[in-house]
Amino acid sequence: MTSSTSKLANPIVETYSRLAEHYDDELNLHSCWGQASDKALASIYLKDDYRLVLDVGCGTGRALARLASRAKSVVQFVGIEPAENMRNLALRRVQPFRNVQIWDGSFEHIPLETGSVDYLFSIFAFHWTTDPEAAVREVRRVLKPGAEMDLFFIGRDNGREFIQKTTPIFLKYMGPALLLESARMRKQLTKEAAHQLFAKAFSPTEPFIDESYQTYYDTLEGHWGWWVRIEGHFMQIPSARKERCDQEVKNALQCLAEPAGIPYTIHQLHVRLRRG
């Protein structure tokens, strides 16, 4: 392993870092993202011959701690995370596990040697990459020949209910140029675009891509608990206007309420790489 740093001047990373201490709040753990993350984690199966397991965008280390608690001690786990305060929480969480390390890094800069990883996973982080092609090249670089991988990330049509309601509001407060700049911060791919991206990088190995749509219902407070973390998109709205913008967004989201709650549909893409 090599040590390296990845200081990204990235408003999304900065926002995640600033709000890190709230990341494991009950409200967030039970939110749509908490539920979807748990579902993704539950689907991960560690094979006996894995020796180095990498979690890219490990957040506060929940997945790593859970996997390490039931893995053999010969398995080394590495989590990389660009948001400093998230990383600090992860370090604290994995302290009981001598075989888990947390490093500064991101999809574009993985501080590991070429061909060293047996299994790579990532839960809802890949869409924050700043350069998908460079990110996939870097993933390919660190994987051993025959390594396996599970990447879960959001697709092009994610959060369609919220986006339709909030886009006119953000357009009003941000103007066209900033709105489009903020949209470009997320790389929400269609299944076809994701296939093209990964198939090109991993050729001749064919990656499998599963696509799913799952609608979650929550209260406005429940949704707002995670919504604040995407504030990095909206940092350029002056604070006085930001309060009014937030209120309009809340009113618009409340209009979506159904008997079960306010819906939010997660469009998930799952890229799988398997041996043979």
Partner: protein
């Protein structure tokens, strides 16, 4: 194709593009016209607008500068076309 286009030609191009590329699962109510608000109607979201701008730039051969653009003009088919043509003149 990067030839000089009239506003009417550009409007037609944009309408045809929107017909083929609007949000999945969305059925436009009524005809898409030069006066259609692409965002308020739900036809496109911010990602769709980005794709549309890339398309318009490739067809018109000019970069669209959105600095100081009126959001009301930007959302409407003919407004977006006028912004494009103003950019070309500048």
């Amino acid at each position: 194709m990067t030839v000089a286009m009239s506003e009417a030609q550009l409007v037609d191009l944009v309408i045809n593009w929107v017909r083929s590329n609007h949000r999945p699962g969305y059925s436009p109510n009524g005809e898409i016209s030069a006066d259609t608000d692409l965002i308020a109607s739900g036809l496109l979201d911010s990602f769709g607008i980005i794709d549309l701008i890339v398309f318009i730039e490739s067809q018109s051969g000019c970069q669209i500068d959105l600095t100081d653009v009126d959001p009301g003009e930007f959302c409407v088919v003919k407004g977006l076309c006028r912004i494009t043509l103003r950019n070309r003149q500048n």
